[in-house]
Amino acid sequence: MAKIKGDIVINVERCKGCEVCLASCPTSVIGMAKEVNSKGYHFAIKVNDTCTGCMNCALVCPDGVITVYRAKVTAE
């Protein structure tokens, strides 16, 4: 059975840590890092691998730092 899998890549240097993406993610893929980027913001990171590639986080991100990948993966 084919399954939709997704992945996100966050440009951590551009992230301003507003946490709007956290609230929009249906599968709670995103969390905030303890570390800060060069501007001093706690950036968003992936904290698990349940991403479905729904693009919600990328749509609400004011700075457009999230790139979304989605593919059909056939389960073994």
Partner: protein
């Protein structure tokens, strides 16, 4: 830590479903974290990208936080004097009727100092798009009271809350211009949840398509947050906006194809 959950097998170029549009200059936006301006910029540029009119579009940037919009939007831009963007847009559109012209204004610019220009441009039925970002406050200069500030809302020049008896009532510009015969498409949107972002993009697309028809002003108000001015975190300010701004500024289309639509029950909650 992030790499631990990376799915490298699907991180390929052909699987990209969303990425930052190349029509935005590759430079960090100067807005505060969580500000709706960034999202509107992105939706605007994606609309132009989809319509393939980057080289035919001229934007007018206002005075306010988005005065630097020309630093980020990779199109031809002009800066107008405070509030005068619709007047400048009128001139540009009349000189180059085949170009796509839009103004991008905040509530201090459009609803306070530029009220005359806005209303007269709408009344003349000029053929361009007005994008109006309403956050109920003068964000750039330090959170002063704007005409759109809600009753009882605290700002740096109304520290005890806006008193309607002495400071007047909040101005609903969008309903006001919808009454004018020169407007063709008038709508109010928001950009705090994915669904609202999608709707805003649809509205922008419709507005730019209307310019091809030469039918009149398309006026899009975007109710946005100002977490610095409201002194809240971005997530709390979005919640506050849903609870307080949306009852006074209900979302939805107000005038479509030159006809005022009957107001229906507005559901402004997240995810609807």
């Amino acid at each position: 830590m992030e790499e631990q959950f990376a799915k490298l097998d699907i991180r390929k170029d052909e699987n990209i479903v969303y990425k930052r549009t190349p029509l935005l200059v590759d430079r960090p936006l100067s807005y505060c974290p969580g500000c709706g301006h960034g999202t509107v910029h992105r939706m605007l540029m994606e609309t132009l990208e989809e319509m393939d009119i980057q080289d035919k579009t001229i934007g007018i940037s206002p005075v306010g936080c988005s005065v630097l919009a020309y630093d980020f939007l990779n199109i031809d831009m002009l800066g107008a004097a405070h509030g005068r963007a619709p007047a400048l847009a009128t001139a540009i559109k009349r000189m180059w009727p085949d170009k796509f012209v839009f103004t991008y204004q905040g509530d201090g610019d459009l609803a306070a100092i530029g009220t005359a220009e806005t209303i007269h441009a709408c009344n003349r039925g000029e053929n361009f798009v007005i994008i109006f970002i309403n956050n109920g406050i003068y964000g750039m200069t330090g959170g002063q009271m704007a005409p759109t500030t809600l009753p009882g809302m605290r700002s740096s020049t109304s520290p005890y809350g806006r008193d309607e008896k002495t400071m007047g009532h909040p101005l609903r510009m969008t309903e006001l211009v919808a009454q004018l015969p020169g407007t063709y498409f008038v709508t109010r949107q928001a950009v705090h949840t994915p669904n609202h972002v999608r709707r805003t993009k649809k509205a922008l697309r419709k507005a730019f398509e209307n310019q091809k028809l030469n039918v009149g002003i398309s006026f899009i108000e975007v109710v946005s947050n100002c977490n610095s001015g409201w002194k809240m975190t971005p997530v709390n300010s979005n919640k506050w906006m849903e609870d307080n701004m949306f009852p006074y500024y209900p979302l939805g289309d107000i005038k479509v194809d030159g006809k005022i639509v009957e107001p229906k029950a507005v559901t402004a909650k997240a995810g609807e």
